[in-house]
Amino acid sequence: MYNFEVEKPGTLAEATAAMAGEDAQALGGGQTLIPTLKQRLASPAKLVSLSGVAEMQGISKDGDALRIGGATTHGAVAADGNYPALSALAAQIGDPAVRNRGTIGGSLANNDPAACYPAAALGSGATIITTNREIAADDYFQGMFDTALDEGEIVTAVSFPIPQAANYQKFVQPASRFALVGVFLAKYADGIRVAVTGASNEGVFRWAEAEAALGDDFSASALDGLSVPADNMISDLHGPAAYRAHLVKVMTGRAVTAAG
């Protein structure tokens, strides 16, 4: 690590002010950022810890939507019962230590191409609420490790419309146990959403053909005949592009069956 300052604001206003400083960086649960710092791959002048920001805590039901504060840990989401598929997803992230520290805001800001929450946010058509604005999930994810966030912008909350049925199928990359391929599927009155993480060189994406087919016939067999092109899939030690493309379909089918 290189040396840095740490600030721990108690309110969003203080946090925004602290982030205005030169080379300031938000610190969520530190589960991604701290290892990066330890390896000397980043050298922020100041870390602004968000864990004390009152407005960013907690989970609340707001009509048909679930609002989750940006500093809420995976463990807290896992323990919440309002959106079972989302809680189940959170319960599969990392290990207890990671879940007790890592936050939804940190995960969405980081937008790791193999992370789980991006699939849930995109698959649920969630709204990302920041210090400046509200961003629809469809506009938020912009490729591997890339989002619509501006410099210094903080994810303060995420609002998830609660679906009629949903399921997350995670086929783990065996070493990191992130998603080699993860499929989040949600069924709403106005249609089906299918979001895929882990697979594409462009990060999380929606599988439009599957959404359409499942909208007509909500069963795994509706996917027969569909396939995801392997062209833009990730190829690495753990699996070639064609394998990932194949898994997208298998995991989608399983998600349909499990969602019922």
Partner: protein, 794 residues
């Protein structure tokens, strides 16, 4: 009735109290007064010419005390290979120098070319970043075939990347070729024994210190064999007289072989400590462990098995390329040769064996012995090709093995690969395995899996290994440059408690519990009064350390011999005390008695007498009660076993789940069954890890792709089934006093082929004609193999 003390009992491991409560003392826990810190500058390219290294900026950084480069060690020796192998043409192997710090060239990613010593570790890190190294990157030599055919050399001075081309047994070469040419059936298999990163929980660490007033050096280090490290540093690398160098390995948190060897960091901290007059500590971070610990395995092999019509084995012919990495690590030349080729007859009465091994330099981390060392490679090749042969001949894989087993009345048995097996009963192991693994219930389980949409496979394996790595005369003939005996001192203190100094050094095996069981049994006393001292060259006579499942078989035998000497002397003292001849003294339950009388003295009274020798026959018996023995066995020991595995394969994803794993091993006599079971469990986990998940991958530029736990998969508890382990079928070793064989590596030797055989069986049962998948058998590879099989059929 199980015993609760002594040989055959399973007392809990006394060392675990400190290990489990975080009070063990590892090298990095030790803080010496005025300690400084070393950080190494390591190559980021796999192969390059060092044009210049400018350390001036680094030297001026805050807290920096010294900067070293390869130039500083040009005059000192190199880290040697411990085993001389001669090529088939009689030429000795190529032995390029392995310097303390890279000089002239860097040869693998992670190769250290400079080191900074500073007041704090962060200051040292900052200064390493300020070193300006001008390194001209050269094309990397990564693939072994390219290495052998090209003219791009890892070591320019030897003008080849081939270390040796070894044949075993060379005199059998033509006969083996003929047998294969004329056989009724030949089964051929090409396979890869995947490279593994050792991943000891405790990374390597070393502290060098120097006392100017006396000229004494001390090295605290993470070592499985402190005496060997001292010998290498003294005799080859730095030339420090052995009596001026103490090597201390305190608690050691795993090694699996990787902490046998001497590494340059150890020499660096000693040299730096002398220069600065202050202790210098270095602790590897996990990335350094991945990049620089000696890796394991990495063989590419073609094996052929010739059979007659009835399925009798006629010959095994093996052609192996063994990667030794960029430099020869201490045992790297023995592992693919004498620990591999000599085992290529397996448990079988095959008359002919020929093995050719070419060892190849590449721009990758050095490769050396890793849990099993050569024997897993041998077992994997044999047991995979036998399985394939059974399938080709439509024979039952268990029956084919049984047909060719050496039978109990054939011992001692001279194997076609040059070893003399002293004892064993492979049919009894197979019988027991069939019972413990419930082979009879397999078909029902398969139907159940099929009903769940999964393919179930059964895999079997029989192995033999040579361990208790020792007989000095034998290994000397085979090229070893060291002796491989071991030593122990038993010191009975005046008040009746004992310190037993042993040359073996536990890095997790449980010596502190098991060795006292042996001594307690022999003396008939409470093991609680016996303490093991190990890991410190200043306290122990000598020792060759712990590896090759040798601690009990070799060092335990030395403990027995030293204890026998104690008993002999104690009987003399007791005889004097009881006014009888020592010939008439018996020892039972810690009491010396005159046979046929009620006259007796306790062990404690005799000990006290030895140290307070009043009314003592000083002219006949020396005071004191302390004895040392060196033990050098007559042969290796030969553990063997029969393993079974059942897997379920998901046909949609290719994911393999191990559902049942059964290990029936012959370890001879067993001192502590619980510890033995634990050793087998660990070995099985490692073997399943190798078979299914562990993958060390370098890209074509020599960059290690799997250089962290994000990409290198360690097997985890939820990858494991409950294990069925049995060691009831022991045939005692015939040549050591305890009749023991060694159990540390068996699990890692026997399990990989068992698992892969089971996967192939599962795929075949699902109607896909897949005959081989290289380890690790990842879901992607299984899926790929299924796709290929389908398209071949189409």
């Amino acid at each position: 009735m199980p015993k609760d003390t002594g040989i055959g009992a399973s007392p809990v491991r006394r060392e675990d109290v400190r290990f489990l409560t975080g009070t063990g003392e590892y090298t990095d826990d030790i803080v010496l007064a005025k300690q400084t810190y070393a950080v190494f500058a390591r190559s980021t390219v796999a192969h390059g010419t060092i044009k210049s290294i400018d350390t001036s900026a680094a030297e001026g950084m805050p807290g920096v005390l010294a900067v070293f480069t390869g130039e500083d060690f040009v005059e000192v020796g190199g880290n040697p290979a411990g085993w001389l192998i001669n090529s088939r043409n009689g030429e000795p192997m190529k032995e390029p120098k392995r310097p303390v710090l890279a000089h002239g060239k860097v040869r693998h990613v992670g190769d250290a070319y400079a080191a900074v010593i500073a007041e704090t570790i962060e200051q040292a890190r900052d200064a390493v970043e300020a070193i300006e190294a001008d390194i001209d990157e050269l094309p990397a030599v990564v693939d072994m075939n390219d290495a052998l055919s090209g003219s791009n050399f890892v070591h320019d001075e030897i003008e080849t990347n081939q270390c040796f081309d070894w044949g075993w047994i060379e005199d059998n070469r033509d006969a083996t070729d003929n047998a294969i040419k004329n056989a009724h059936h030949v089964t051929t298999l090409e396979l890869v024994n995947n490279r593994l990163v050792p991943n000891a929980m405790e990374p390597r660490a070393s502290i060098g210190s120097y006392k100017a007033s006396t000229g004494e050096y001390t090295l605290h280090t993470t070592s499985q064999n402190p005496h060997l490290t001292r010998l290498l540093i003294s005799a080859f690398v730095l030339g420090i007289p052995e009596n001026m160098l103490t090597v201390i390995a305190p608690d050691v948190g795993g090694g699996f072989g990787s902490k046998i060897y001497h590494y340059g960091e150890e020499a660096l901290v000693l040299a730096a400590a002398k220069k600065l007059g202050r202790p210098v500590k270095w602790t590897a971070d996990r990335t350094e462990s991945f990049l620089t610990d000696a890796h394991g395995r990495d063989h590419v092999t073609k094996i052929e098995l010739a059979l007659d019509k009835e399925g009798n084995f006629l010959a095994f012919r093996t052609d192996t390329k063994a990667n030794v990495g960029a430099y020869l690590s201490n045992f790297s030349t023995a592992t693919p040769t004498f620990l591999h080729g000599t085992l290529m007859a397996g448990n079988y009465t095959v008359p002919l064996v020929y093995v050719n091994v070419k060892a190849v330099f590449t721009n990758t981390a050095p490769v050396d012995a890793y849990r099993g060392a050569g024997r897993p490679e041998a077992t994997y090749s044999l047991e995979r090709v036998i399985d394939k042969a059974a399938r080709e001949l439509r024979m039952d894989p268990i029956e084919l093995r049984r047909k060719n087993f050496i039978k109990p009345d054939q011992y001692p048995y001279a194997s076609a690969a040059g070893l003399e097996y002293d004892a064993g009963n492979y049919d009894a192991l197979m019988d027991k395995m069939e019972e413990v693994a419930d082979v009879a219930g397999f078909e029902a389980r398969r139907k159940q899996s099929e009903a769940n949409g999964l393919m179930r496979g059964f895999g079997v394996n029989a192995y033999i290994e040579a361990c208790g790595i020792a007989p000095s005369n034998l290994v000397g003939v085979l090229g070893s440059r060291v002796g491989l005996y071991d030593a122990a001192t038993v010191r009975v203190n005046a008040t009746g408690n004992l310190s037993v100094m042993v040359g073996a050094h536990s890095h997790g095996q449980g010596h502190e519990t098991a060795f006292p069981q042996v001594v307690a049994e022999m003396l008939g006393i409470d093991p609680a009064v016996i303490d093991i001292v190990h890991g410190d060259t200043s306290k122990i006579p000598f020792g060759m350390g712990t590896y090759g499942s040798r601690s009990l078989a070799v060092c335990g035998s030395a403990v027995v011999r030293a204890t026998e000497k104690i008993i002999n002397k104690a009987k003399k003292i007791a005889g004097h005390m009881l006014e009888a001849s020592d010939q008439d003294i018996t020892l039972e339950n810690g009491v010396f008695s005159v046979a046929g009388t009620d006259k007796s003295v306790t062990f404690g009274e005799v000990a006290l007498k030895a140290y307070i020798p009043h009314e003592y026959p000083l002219e006949d018996i020396e005071p004191g009660l302390e004895e040392t023995a060196f033990y050098d066995p007559a042969n290796f020991t030969y553990p063997s076993g029969a393993y079974a595995c059942e897997v379920e394969v998901d046909p949609e994803t290719g994911k393999v789940r191990v559902d049942r794993m059964c290990a029936v091993d012959d370890f001879g006599n067993v001192i502590n069954p619980m510890i033995v079971t634990g050793q087998v469990h660990g070995g099985l986990a490692q073997g399943i890890g190798q078979a299914l998940v562990e993958n060390t991958s370098y890209d074509e530029n020599g960059q290690l792709l799997s250089a962290s736990y994000m990409d290198y998969t360690m097997p985890r508890a939820d990858d494991m089934p409950m294990f069925h382990v049995d060691h009831s079928q022991g045939t005692p070793c015939t040549h050591n006093p305890l009749g023991v064989k060694g159990c540390g590596e068996a699990g890692a030797i026997g399990s990989p082929p068992t698992v892969v055989n089971a996967v192939i069986d599962a795929l075949q049962s699902g109607g896909t004609n897949v005959t081989h998948i290289d380890m690790p058998v990842t879901p992607a590879r299984v899926w790929d193999a299924m796709q290929n099989a389908k398209s071949e059929e189409a």
